[in-house]
C-alpha cells in the first residue's frame, strides 16, 4: 500500500524542517509561555485585588480573550498592530512589525488570559493563614506575594501550566494563516512543492505527537520532583 509513497522526501527535507520550522515553533512556544506566565500572573494579582479599577479591566480582558477565536486574534494583530503603532507613534506609514514579533505578541497576550486563570486558582489554593503569617512577620504585600504565596502557587500549578504549554505548542501551528514558516508550515511547503502531501502530513503529525507525549511524561516526572512536602 505504501508502494506509491516516497518517504525519502522526509529525510531530504529534515534540515529545513527542523532548523527553520521546529526552531520557530519551539522558540515561539517558549517565549510565549514565559511572557504569558509573567503577564498572566500580573493579571491574576489584579483580578484578586480588592481594587475595582484593577480587577474589572483584568476580568474584562480575560473574558474577551477567551471568547474570541484564536485565529481571529492572530489575523487581527498582524494586520492591525502596524496601524495602531502608526497611530500611537504618529509616523507617516504603518509601523513595521515582523511576523515573528507579531506572533509572539499575539500568543503572549492570548496565553496570558489562560495563565491568569491558572495562577488565580493557584493563588486561591494557598491558605489564608499563610498570608496572615507572612504579614504578621512584617512582610509587605509584594514580599508576601513574592516570597510566600507565588512560589507555592506556582509549584502547585506547574503541572497545569505545562499542560497548557503543550496545548500552546500545538496551537503555534495556527501561524500558518500568516504564511509564517513554523514546523507545520515548513512541512506543508515541502509537501506542496514535491507533491508529497500524505507523507509530510503524516510525518508532521507524528512529530507533534511525539513531542507532546514526551513533554507530558516530563511533566509527570517533574510533578513528583517539585511537589511541596505536606
Amino acid at each position: 500500500m505504501f508502494a506509491n509513497f516516497d518517504f525519502d522526501v522526509i529525510l531530504r527535507s529534515l534540515p529545513y524542517l527542523f532548523y527553520q520550522g521546529m526552531t520557530f515553533t519551539l522558540l515561539l512556544t517558549a517565549l510565549a509561555t514565559l511572557g504569558g506566565i509573567v503577564v498572566g500572573t500580573l493579571l491574576a494579582l489584579m483580578r484578586l485585588s480588592g481594587v475595582s479599577f484593577l480587577n474589572l479591566p483584568a476580568a474584562a480582558y480575560v473574558n474577551l480573550m477567551r471568547s474570541v477565536p484564536f485565529v481571529l486574534m492572530i489575523f487581527w494583530f498582524y494586520f492591525l498592530v502596524p496601524y495602531i503603532g502608526q497611530w500611537i507613534t504618529r509616523s507617516p506609514q504603518p509601523l513595521q512589525v515582523g511576523a515573528f514579533a507579531s506572533c509572539l505578541i499575539t500568543f503572549t497576550l492570548f496565553e496570558a488570559a489562560f495563565f491568569c486563570e491558572i495562577m488565580r486558582a493557584g493563588i486561591q489554593s494557598i491558605p489564608r493563614g499563610q498570608v496572615a503569617a507572612a504579614e504578621a512577620l512584617g512582610m509587605t504585600y509584594p514580599k508576601t506575594m513574592g516570597y510566600i504565596v507565588l512560589p507555592q502557587a506556582f509549584r502547585n500549578m506547574v503541572p497545569v501550566l505545562l499542560t497548557q504549554t503543550i496545548v500552546l505548542f500545538q496551537d503555534t501551528s495556527l501561524v500558518y494563516v500568516l504564511s509564517v514558516t513554523d514546523f507545520l508550515g515548513a512541512a506543508s511547503k515541502i509537501a506542496q512543492r514535491d507533491g508529497r502531501l500524505v507523507e509530510m502530513y503524516i510525518f508532521a503529525a507524528c512529530i507533534y505527537f511525539l513531542v507532546s507525549l514526551g513533554a507530558s511524561h516530563l511533566v509527570r516526572q517533574l510533578q513528583h520532583r517539585i511537589a511541596i512536602i505536606r
Binding site: 491558605p127 493563614g129 499563610q130 496572615a132 503569617a133 507572612a134 504579614e135 504578621a136 512577620l137 512584617g138 512582610m139 509587605t140 514580599k143 516570597y147 510566600i148 512560589p151 507555592q152 509549584r155 511541596i228 512536602i229 505536606r230
Partner: protein
C-alpha cells in the same frame, strides 16, 4: 506596652467585639480564655492589625495600630505571632523559614540570620531538624519552629493564638514548655488558650472573654480562686472538669 482601648468590631451587622479594654505591661503574661466563638482570637488578631476594627484604639509600644499613618508592616515585624495551625512556609526548609523574614524584612546579613536561626532552633530543641521541610515534622515540632521563627525577629511582645489547639495531646506539653521558658525569661505575652494549667503556672492575669465582651480581667490567683462573674464560673467549672 500594649493598650486596648474600647475596641469594637463588626462583621456586617454582627458585633463580634464590644468595647473591649485591656492593658498589658512590659514583661507581663496575660492569658485570654473564653468559650469558642467568643471573639478572643479576633481580639488578639486586632493587636497586630491582622483584623481591622471599626471603633476604639490599640497602641503597641506607643504606636497606634489603627492609625492610617502607621507603617503596619514595620510594627508587625516587632510583634511575634504564633498561630493555631502553625503556618510555617511549607516550600521552605525550617532553616529558611527562620532566616527569610530576618533577611527580607529586617535586612539582616545572611550569616547573622543563620546564626540566630540555629541558636533559636537549639533553644526549642530542634537543631537537628534545620534542613527538613515543615511537612516532615510533627505538629508539636512545627509549632516550636513557629515560635522560633517569631523569636528570630527579636519581638518586643509575643501573641499566641491557641497555639496548642491543633495538637495531639501528647505534643501539647513540649510546646507549653517552650512557652513557659519564654514567660520566665520576661517576654511580654498575650496567650489565647484553654490550657488552664499553663495559665496558673505563668500568667500574671487572666482575661475572660464571652460574646465579644471582656467579662473579667483579674490576677491569676483571684481568677481561679473565685471568678466574679457567673459566666466565668460556669466556663471554669466546665473546663476544669475535663
Amino acid at each position: 506596652m500594649i493598650k486596648i482601648d474600647r475596641v469594637s468590631k463588626w462583621y456586617g451587622p454582627v458585633q463580634v467585639l464590644k468595647d473591649c479594654s485591656a492593658a498589658v505591661a512590659r514583661g507581663e503574661v496575660v492569658v485570654v480564655c473564653g468559650p469558642s466563638g467568643s471573639g478572643k482570637s479576633t481580639l488578639i488578631k486586632c493587636v497586630n492589625g491582622l483584623e481591622p476594627f471599626q471603633k476604639g484604639t490599640i497602641t503597641v509600644d506607643g504606636v497606634s495600630v489603627s492609625d492610617r499613618k502607621t507603617n503596619l508592616p514595620k510594627l508587625r515585624a516587632r510583634i511575634g505571632m504564633v498561630f493555631q495551625h502553625f503556618e510555617l512556609f511549607p516550600h521552605l526548609t525550617v532553616r529558611r523559614n527562620l532566616t527569610l523574614p530576618q533577611v527580607k524584612v529586617l535586612h539582616r546579613a545572611r550569616d547573622g540570620a543563620e546564626k540566630k536561626a540555629m541558636q533559636l532552633l537549639d533553644r526549642v530543641g530542634l537543631r537537628d531538624h534545620a534542613d527538613k521541610f515543615p511537612g516532615q515534622l510533627s505538629g508539636g515540632q512545627q509549632q516550636r519552629v513557629a515560635i522560633a521563627r517569631a523569636l528570630a525577629m527579636d519581638p518586643i511582645a509575643m501573641l499566641f493564638d491557641e497555639p496548642t489547639s491543633a495538637l495531639d495531646p501528647e505534643m501539647i506539653q513540649e510546646v507549653l514548655d517552650v512557652m513557659v521558658g519564654l514567660a520566665r525569661d520576661g517576654m511580654t505575652m498575650i496567650v489565647v488558650t484553654h490550657e488552664m494549667g499553663f495559665a496558673r503556672k505563668v500568667a500574671d492575669r487572666v482575661v475572660f472573654v464571652d460574646q465579644g465582651e471582656i467579662v473579667e480581667d483579674a490576677p491569676t490567683a483571684d481568677f481561679f480562686a473565685k471568678p466574679r462573674s457567673q459566666r466565668a464560673q460556669l466556663f471554669l467549672s466546665k473546663i476544669l472538669q475535663q
